[in-house]
């Protein structure tokens, strides 16, 4: 009976598929909507701390 072998093989394949799908997205270059947004957030922070005359880092 190859059943248990097969089940554990399928289990292993599940993990590999999960990882591949996850890492495919995780390792993608950030879309510009995010790099643009980060730039805006940083600029806003910079403007805010200049106004306060204090840096809360």
């Amino acid at each position: 009976m190859s059943r248990p072998d097969r089940t554990s093989r399928v289990s292993k394949e599940i993990d590999e598929n999960l990882k591949r799908a996850y890492e495919d997205v995780a390792n993608q270059e950030l879309p510009t909507r995010f790099t643009d947004l980060l730039e805006q957030l940083r600029e806003k922070d910079a403007a805010g701390s200049k106004k306060d005359g204090a840096n809360d880092n």
Partner: protein
């Protein structure tokens, strides 16, 4: 040089996008959620306790964003985008290997809570404890979700992996039927 925790957020954005994608199964919606979560995290960085697990903190914000605002919209856009249907358009290859398309189709059939538990633990490298913290449930609950999700996938994949054509037809038909009943 700078130890601003905000800049640490940036290093987790890729993982956040991957997690959001697994929750939504829709890349445009996933990025909408990540964007909202990023702004929330950035502006509420004061509530992050230095020295604690930033990834778990971010993923908690991310999933709260998803469950409170975007879950309903997902149902509306899912069918029009038709990612699942696209995945099913191609018959599984019978070379004894699981195919990504089959896997995606099967994975999409799991309940959300099993999907997120599987992704956090199986792909994201979260410990059961970290995943439990992120999802706001007991460690035992996460373990049982992972086990049930895995068992269900084994069941689904095992059948579609079968060489018997009837079985393939049956599961394909089953997935299509279930997909339609979800919509």
């Amino acid at each position: 040089m700078t130890t601003d925790p905000k800049e640490e957020i940036v290093t987790h954005l890729g993982a956040m996008r991957a997690f959001a994608m697994s929750l939504t199964r829709n890349s445009a919606l996933a990025d909408d959620i990540v964007q909202d979560a990023l702004v929330k995290a950035w502006t509420n960085i004061g509530s992050f306790q230095a020295g604690t697990n930033m990834r778990a903190w971010l993923f908690t914000i991310l999933r709260n964003t998803y469950y409170s605002h975007h879950r309903k919209r997902k149902r509306e856009v899912e069918d029009t985008e038709g990612e699942l249907s696209a995945g099913l358009a191609q018959k599984p290859d019978h070379d004894g290997r699981l195919q990504m398309r089959d896997f995606n189709a099967a994975f999409g059939l799991l309940p959300e809570e099993q999907r997120e538990a599987l992704v956090l633990v199986g792909a994201g490298g979260f410990s059961y404890e970290e995943a439990a913290e992120t999802c706001g449930v007991a460690v035992g609950t996460i373990k049982s979700r992972v086990n049930r999700g895995r068992a269900k996938l084994v069941e689904l994949m095992d059948i579609s992996d079968d060489e018997a054509m009837e079985a393939t037809e049956a599961v394909t038909q089953g997935i299509v039927t279930m997909n339609q009943s979800i919509a």
